[in-house]
Structures are given as C-alpha cells and as structure tokens.
C-alpha cells in the first residue's frame, strides 16, 4: 500500500455548507424532510402488441417503483391499448416513473389522472348462510349476485378502490372465501382527453 498523495488532511479542509436529502434535493440542514408518499394514477397509451405488458412491468420492477395495480385493455383505436397504473411513491418517484415510462418505445403518452374517474371491478365469493344479509350488503354497495351456488354466492361490484375495500370489509361478517379484483381503470374527467399530461 503505497501511492499516497500530498495535500491537506480532510479535517483541515474548508468545510462545505448545506446538505441534500436522499432524493438529492437541497434542504435546510436543520430540518430532516423526506418527501411523503402519494398515491397516483398513471394512464399510458401503448402499442397493442405482445411483450408490451412485460416491458412496462419489467421497468417498474427493475427501477423499484411501487405499483399498487396495473390494468390493461383495448381502446377505441385498434392499434393501441390503455394501461392504468396505480403507483405509491414520493413526488420525485412519481415524476421519475412517468419519465421512464415515456422513454419506452411502445409507449405513446403518459398522463397523471388526479381528479379522474376511477373504477375497479371486484368479484367477491361470500358464504351463503344469510342470503338476505348478503343481498342487503350487496345492494348497499351497488353490487349484485352473479352466481348463487349451494354454499356460496358470488357478488360483482364496481367502485373506487376505497369503496371496494369497504364492501369487502362489510362482507367479512358472512365469511369471504375468495376475492378477485381487476385493479383500477381510469379516464380523465369531462371532455378532457386522457393523453399527455400537462406537467
């Protein structure tokens, strides 16, 4: 171990002022402020081709963005599919996810849908010991029984993610056997088109 160099020791050097947080943002050194997580709905128009879903999913996995749900389906344009991706990230993470997504060749546009129309569909298979009770809860959440078997009834309902959570919680008292949820689908409100966002 030779090869040392001459010069002032680290402690003798002029000290830097200021600090950044782990996101690389300059901060007041006295306040430890890490940006809070937020839930954001992203909508991407992508080529309707094999492999695109895995490319997008792979990007999110590789770069460690937290996805809550991801849905994909056809649009009015035959060549395009729409992906709705719910992410939970601090602000800079949401921005980064959008930018990385925009770089993928099959991705045509990405928008952030705050104030959007958001819906999710759920199928909930409930024990059928109390048919009247199940029917009442289903009605309360705007669902309906789509299949009634010997022991169980399957209820279909749509709503916001929170509404679906609440409905499932309400069914718990009868006993919930299985649940299948689609994840959120969303569109921009009103006449606004769900394409490039305005950021």
């Amino acid at each position: 171990m030779t090869g040392g160099l001459q010069g002032p020791d680290p402690e003798e050097r002029q000290q830097a002022t200021g600090r950044r947080n782990s996101q690389g943002i300059r901060i007041d050194p006295d306040v430890e402020a890490e940006p809070a997580e937020r839930r954001e709905v992203l909508s991407a128009l992508v080529d309707h081709e094999p492999g695109v879903l895995s490319e997008v999913a792979g990007l999110f996995a590789r770069r460690q963005f937290n996805i809550e749900s991801l849905t994909v389906g056809p649009t009015t344009d035959e060549g395009m599919a729409r992906m709705t991706i719910v992410v939970r990230e601090p602000g800079p993470g949401v921005e980064q996810a959008k930018r990385q997504l925009r770089k993928l060749a099959p991705v045509h546009s990405v928008s952030e849908l705050s104030g959007a129309v958001e819906r999710e569909l759920a199928l909930i298979k409930v024990e059928d010991d109390d048919p009247a009770g199940v029917a009442a809860v289903a009605e309360m959440y705007g669902g309906e029984a789509v299949e009634a078997g010997p022991e169980v009834v399957t209820v279909e309902l749509t709503g916001s993610e929170e509404a679906v959570d609440a409905a499932i919680a309400a069914f718990e008292r009868f006993g919930v056997r299985e649940v299948a949820r689609t994840g959120t689908a969303a569109l921009a409100g009103g006449t606004q088109e769900t394409r490039e966002s305005n950021d």
Binding site: R13, G24, Q96
Partner: protein, 571 residues
C-alpha cells in the same frame, strides 16, 4: 446512376431474401463494418453480408464483437455493428450490450433466432433474446416477416444514434431471413429536429448563472456524444468558468487549459472534487450523476444550484435535483444559454481558489529507482511518446484509474473505457474496434493482468487483421483494485485477489503471432515503449509494476467528495 441502372437495381431488389433486405438496410444507413461470430441461425444473414460491401471482422468471442462495435461507435459517433447467432451467441453479447447501454454508446446488434414456428419450444440454441436484452438495450425488435425486416433494421440503426444514443438489437428468426420478399424498404427513418430547451427555462438558468460567485461546469459524456465539445469549451472560456469532467466526459475539455480541473468522483482529482463540493452554481451537461461521481448525494455539491442540460428528461432530477432543468440537445442549449446570459459571473476570487486547490493537491507519485516501476510512470511515458489524437482504451481496475489520471487528454473521442458497467476485458476488443474505426490514429490499451486474461484471445483477431495496436499490461500479479479494497476495508484479507499464477504475457503475445515485450526496470521503459510502438502490428508489453501501488485520491463509496482520502490513513 443512370435511369436504366437504377431500374435494374430496383428490379434486383424487387425479390430478395429477408437477410438481403436487412443487409441493404444497413448499407443504406451507411454502416461500413460489422464485428461478429457466425452460427446456425445467423447464417443467412452472413451469407448476404458476404456479398455486400460491408467489411466483416470475425472476432474470437461475441463479447469481443460487442465491445469492438461499442468502441467503434465511441470513436466514430456512428453506431457500431455486431452480429451473433442465437442462443449462446446472443447471450455472449449480453455484457457488451449492458456496457453500451450504461455508457449510451451507439451500437446495433443483429442476432439470429430459431425459425418462428419453433420459438417457444426450447429448440436447439433458442434463447428469448429480446426478453433477455430488454433491460439492457435502448430498444429491441423481433423481426416478424421478410417484408418488413429492412424497415426494422433501419429503425434500429436510427434509434441507436438519435437522441440519447444507445444499443439496439434486432432478433432475426431464420425463416424470416431466408424467406423471399417482394417488398423493398418502404419508409425513410424520421429525422427529428434538434431539441432546444424552452426559452423561459433558459432565461432563468442564465440569470442564476450570472449571479453566481462560485460557478463550475460539470461536463459529462453527453457533451462528447452530443458533439457539443466546441460549444462547451467556448462557453467556459468566454465566461471564465472552471471545468470538471465526469469519467465518460474526459476529453470534453482540454486538460491542459488553465480552467481545467480534471475528473471528479471516486478517483477524481483534489481540485475537481473541491470545486464540486464548494461551488454555488453548477452547469451540468450530459451527465447522469452516477454514484461513482457523486459519492453520497447528501454531501454532493450541497450548496449548489444546479442547471442540468440533458437530452434525456429521465436523467434530470433522477439522482440529484436540478433547480434549472434544461432538456434538449447539448450544443443547441449551450448556444441558447450563451445568448441569454446577461453578463459573465464575477468569479475572480473563485478562480483563484480553484488555482490554490490545484497547487495544494497535485497528482504526483514517488518513483524510487531501486523499487519496481510505478504504473503512473508507464502511463506518462506512453503519453509523452504519442500524439494528442491517440486513442486510449482500458480494462477495469487500478490501471484504468492510473490511465485516466496520468494521461493528459486534450481531444474528445480519445478516451475509450467501460465507465458505467465497469467491464473487465473491455480494453483489447475496444482497441480493435477503435483501430478499425480510425486506422490512421495510434491506439494504445492499458490493461490489468486480470482484465487482459478475460479477453486476450482477441489478440488473434488483431494479428489476422494486421491491426497496429499496442497493449500495456500493468501487471501487478493481482486483481489490484480488489486487493486495494481488501487492504482498506477487509483488514487486508486477500481472498481470491492475488494472481501470481498468471502467464508470461510476452510469450502469450508471441503465441498469437503478436510481438511481446517486458518491462522490469525504469531503464527499460523508454526503449521498450518505443520498440513496441514501432512494431508494425499488434504488440503486448508486460509491465511488471510495483504490486503495492494503490490508487489515490479516493472517495469511499457513498462518501463525501470534499473529504477525499489522499493516503491510506485518511480512509
């Protein structure tokens, strides 16, 4: 071309195989050279290549083909081409693709694939090549039919060079390349306008720059890739701003210029790291703020407002927040910024401070006559002996750092190294690619004994192609960078890092038909460097250097750039 001639040509093209369509697309895109290895699924492509004007350089290993193509891309600025067969041929390209992806080097890979109807059946030599390479290419394509394969190849070449450059790959099933097609390439690749940054953003950044008292420019590899070297130099000189480079940015600014502070980061110079740590304004151009540059982000340029020019929006504020994001082409935005700057910053004191740091932290080394040769001495001797446009390639490790620290770079596209991926074995195939790209320029490679052992079979290619390259193996009988970290951070336990069993590299060179030389003492250096350079063909110099030598300065991973260690006791 006369009308009848061009008609015959169109007629000839009217029916062609998918392979021929792919090769004509390459020719139309101006591709002149390809590096690769033959194999079953790519044979139709090779057959068409053999009948074209494109020169093919057969490599010993596909990894070598990818690195050669990568270096060709760095030296010329145009995408380098590599070819491989399906399965192991394609997977052997993986390291080279990942390397090019990290460093945004323009490159196109063509891989053979099993016939379409066998895909998914685990056929002989089948690998899901597009699946494997999705995360390590800018974009990749699976060719579906002979009629469109020409367009696909054209798109792949265009995508490799436009915007932020990078590697692209086209996977070519054998039935697609063998099928005949009547369609000739249908569309011209779109030429996109050079993107400028929004005027308002430029004005804001310009005002902040003018008000700075301690401004610094951080020049990244994007300056060179974006051909913005002249604009950057002009801007720095006009406004009197000290310039620091990243490792890929080496060559973006003439290191002999008084404003040059050298490379920053883990093994950067004292003045460069001090200037980054204490600046109040940073103009960062074409850099992705890699952790080897920033150290811990908490302590990176903690007082600086940062203006970041980059062609890739996803790099801005990814690792370090940009107060003034300037998304666009580097030279276009530097022009914009220059016109918008109301006045140069008043930074005389700051310049004086930077000069003081340059005096306080010289890059130096002791070279006692009675001890083994210091690697830095060899680097300096070769630098002195060669011209300013000499291309330097390296492997990865201590020798790479000594090469970048002790060579004085003055020109862009002369420093060819594996930055982001840190790929041992890069140097020799890169020297081959660089020499093929620039036969009129001198090409030297600095290697570690460990790095050289990884790809030295490519010497056979340099001999066959009569490539006059000179390889200096800075032989410390160890994978020295690992040994250095073991000594510093693992209490000196040298698990698997000592290589006293390495071969005699001069003999290895001779076995391949190259010239071999050895340097044992300081007295050997000048004459041996001369003899190796004068040898007309590839030569290898086994430089038996001081095995105890370490690389300094050093900022440990995640550390504070301003607290760089100058010697072991600082760590």
């Amino acid at each position: 071309m006369s009308e009848t001639e061009s008609e015959t040509r169109t007629a000839e093209r009217a029916v062609q195989t998918g392979a021929e369509a792919a090769i004509s697309a390459l020719e139309d895109a101006g591709v002149e050279v390809g590096f690769g290895v033959q194999g079953g699924a790519i044979m139709p492509v090779y057959d068409a290549l053999g009948q074209s004007d494109i020169r093919h350089v057969t490599m010993a290993h596909e990894q070598g083909a990818a690195h050669a193509a990568d270096a060709y891309g760095i030296v010329t600025g145009e995408p380098g081409l590599c070819l491989a067969t399906s399965g192991p041929g394609a997977t052997n390209l993986v390291t080279g693709l990942a390397d090019a992806d990290m460093d945004s080097d323009p490159m196109v890979a063509l891989t053979g694939q099993v016939p379409t109807d066998m895909v998914g059946n685990d056929a002989f030599q089948e690998t899901d090549t597009t699946g494997v390479t999705t995360p390590i290419t800018k974009t990749n394509y699976f060719a579906t039919d002979a009629g469109t394969v020409g367009d696909t190849v054209r798109d792949a070449v265009a995508a490799a060079s436009e915007g932020r450059q990078g590697p692209t790959l086209v996977d070519l099933p054998k039935d697609v390349t063998q099928a005949e097609t009547a369609t000739s390439p249908s569309h011209e690749p779109e030429t996109k306008p050079t993107p400028e940054a929004p005027a308002e953003a430029v004005d804001e950044a310009a005002r902040a720059f003018a008000a700075a008292e301690k401004p610094v420019i951080l020049a990244g590899g994007g300056v060179i890739k974006g051909e913005a070297t002249p604009e950057l130099r002009q801007f720095a000189v006009d406004h009197g701003v000290p310039v620091v480079t990243t490792m890929p940015g080496v060559g973006a600014f003439d290191e002999t210029h008084p404003l040059a502070l050298g490379m920053a980061g883990m093994h950067g110079t004292g003045p460069a790291n001090m200037a980054l740590t204490h600046c109040d304004f940073m103009l960062a151009v074409g850099t992705r703020f890699d952790d080897r540059l920033t150290g811990g982000v908490e302590t990176f340029a903690p007082a600086a407002r940062i203006a970041h020019i980059d062609i890739d929006a996803s790099e801005v504020s990814k690792n370090v927040h940009a107060d003034y994001p300037l998304i666009g082409d580097a030279s276009a935005v530097l022009h914009q910024l220059d016109s918008a700057v109301p006045r140069s910053p008043d930074a005389a004191d700051w310049q004086a401070q930077c000069e003081t740091w340059e005096r306080e932290y010289p890059m130096d080394y002791d070279a006692p006559e009675d001890e083994p040769v210091k690697p830095q001495f060899v680097v300096e001797a070769v630098d002195e002996a060669t011209a300013g446009d000499t291309v330097v390639t390296t492997g990865v490790g201590q020798h790479q750092m000594w090469a970048v620290q002790y060579w004085t770079f003055t020109e862009p596209r002369t420093w060819v190294s594996s930055h982001g991926l840190g790929t041992m074995g890069y140097g020799l195939p890169a020297a081959i690619g660089a020499k093929v790209a620039a036969p009129e320029r001198e090409v030297v490679s600095f290697e570690g004994d460990g790095s050289f052992l990884m790809t030295c079979q490519e010497l056979s290619v340099a001999v066959r192609e009569e490539l006059d390259i000179t390889v200096f193996v800075l032989n410390n009988e160890a994978i020295g960078m690992v040994r250095q970290w073991q000594d510093a951070f693992f209490e000196g336990r040298r698990t698997a890092s000592e290589y006293p069993w390495g071969p005699d590299f001069a003999t290895v060179a001779e076995a391949f038909g190259a010239a071999g030389f050895t340097i044992d003492t300081y007295d050997d250096v000048a004459d041996t460097v001369e003899a190796a350079r004068e040898y007309d063909g590839p030569s290898v110099v086994d430089c038996r250097i001081d095995p105890r030598e370490d690389v300094y300065p050093m900022v440990p991973s995640g550390g504070d750039n301003g607290a760089f260690a100058l010697r072991e006791e600082h760590l």
